[in-house]
């Protein structure tokens, strides 16, 4: 079944998924907001960068700058998760643990994520950003 799309106040895209028919679902478009009826194939099925979707000429497209911003958010989250066990060792000075080794590990993590940051900044497609983040998992 087709979808109804319209631009949100924040510049993103809302996608209406009708149940019975598109005609019945037209009432669900906010009053006065321009909309388009598109084929379901015009909507990306990969929602990795869902909040970076924008209205394109014929279909929903990705805003690369928004993808990069989302990519950096994910990168920071991933880095914080990797830092966490070493942060604990350094901050709490837990007896029997090697604070120097923890600091070295933190340095390696910092270096790895600096490279990912460069890949994100230099990416020309959302796929490049996703690949860099997923390769790190």
């Amino acid at each position: 079944m087709n979808r109804i799309i319209y631009q949100t106040e924040s510049g993103g895209v809302a996608v209406i998924i009708p149940i019975e028919s598109v005609e019945l679902a037209l009432k669900d478009v906010p009053e006065g907001v321009p909309y388009e009826i598109v084929d379901v194939d015009a909507i990306p099925s990969d929602r990795f960068f869902r909040n970076a979707w924008v209205m394109g000429d014929c279909c929903v497209e990705h805003d690369l700058d928004k993808c990069k911003a989302l990519g950096h958010d994910i990168r920071r989250q991933q880095r914080a998760e990797e830092f966490k066990p070493f942060d604990d060792i350094i901050a709490k000075q837990i007896p029997g643990t090697d604070a120097v080794a923890a600091e070295t590990a933190r340095s390696d993590i910092r270096l790895k994520y600096a490279l990912i940051q460069d890949v994100i900044d230099g990416a020309s497609t959302p796929e490049e950003i996703k690949l860099a983040l997923e390769a790190n998992k």
């Binding site: 809302a14 149940i19 019945l24 099925s45 909040n51």
Partner: protein, 159 residues
């Protein structure tokens, strides 16, 4: 064959058997029941007074079960005209027939993957302004409060 009871002034009430009647005996209950009750059968012809139709406030006014991942898809629903996908883990349930007011209850559940029940997520209305008579905006979060798309999202509206 039918049984006709004539009104004392005019008209009548008639009880008919179906054209192909079989051999059935229906036994009426021995009391009048209470207000709102309905006749029910035990399957063997003995009739009694039962609960009848539920009070309107006891009924679910709308519900939907959908997949919020990949190409968002609705599996089944009642009194829902559509779902609006607003963003990651952010959906609006649009009602076919609007509710009488916004003082309804929203309940539901969300699971990250439909293949396992170990990835439960939190489903809640998106703020106090999320409830409108024609729709309800919900979001699905992980335990850290970050929005997540979920494969199994169920929402029910009670009023």
């Amino acid at each position: 064959m039918s049984l006709r009871l004539n009104g004392s002034t005019s008209g009548y009430v008639e009880i008919d058997a179906p054209a192909t009647a079989g051999s059935n005996t229906l036994i009426l209950p021995d009391g009048n029941g209470t207000s709102g009750q309905a006749l029910q059968t035990n399957g063997s012809g003995a009739l009694s007074w039962g609960p009848g139709v539920a009070n309107d406030a006891q009924l679910c006014k709308a519900w939907v079960n959908f997949d919020g991942t990949g190409t968002v898809a609705i599996r089944a629903s009642y009194n829902v005209s559509s779902i609006t996908d607003n963003g990651t883990g952010d959906y609006t349930v649009n009602f076919t027939t609007a509710l009488s007011d916004v003082n309804y209850a929203v309940t539901g559940s969300a699971a990250l993957s439909s293949a396992t029940n170990t990835s439960a997520r939190i489903l809640s209305p998106r703020g106090t302004t999320a409830l409108a008579t024609g729709s309800c905006r919900i979001h699905t979060d992980n335990d850290l409060g970050a929005v997540n798309d979920c494969a199994l999202v169920s929402v029910a509206i009670l009023r």
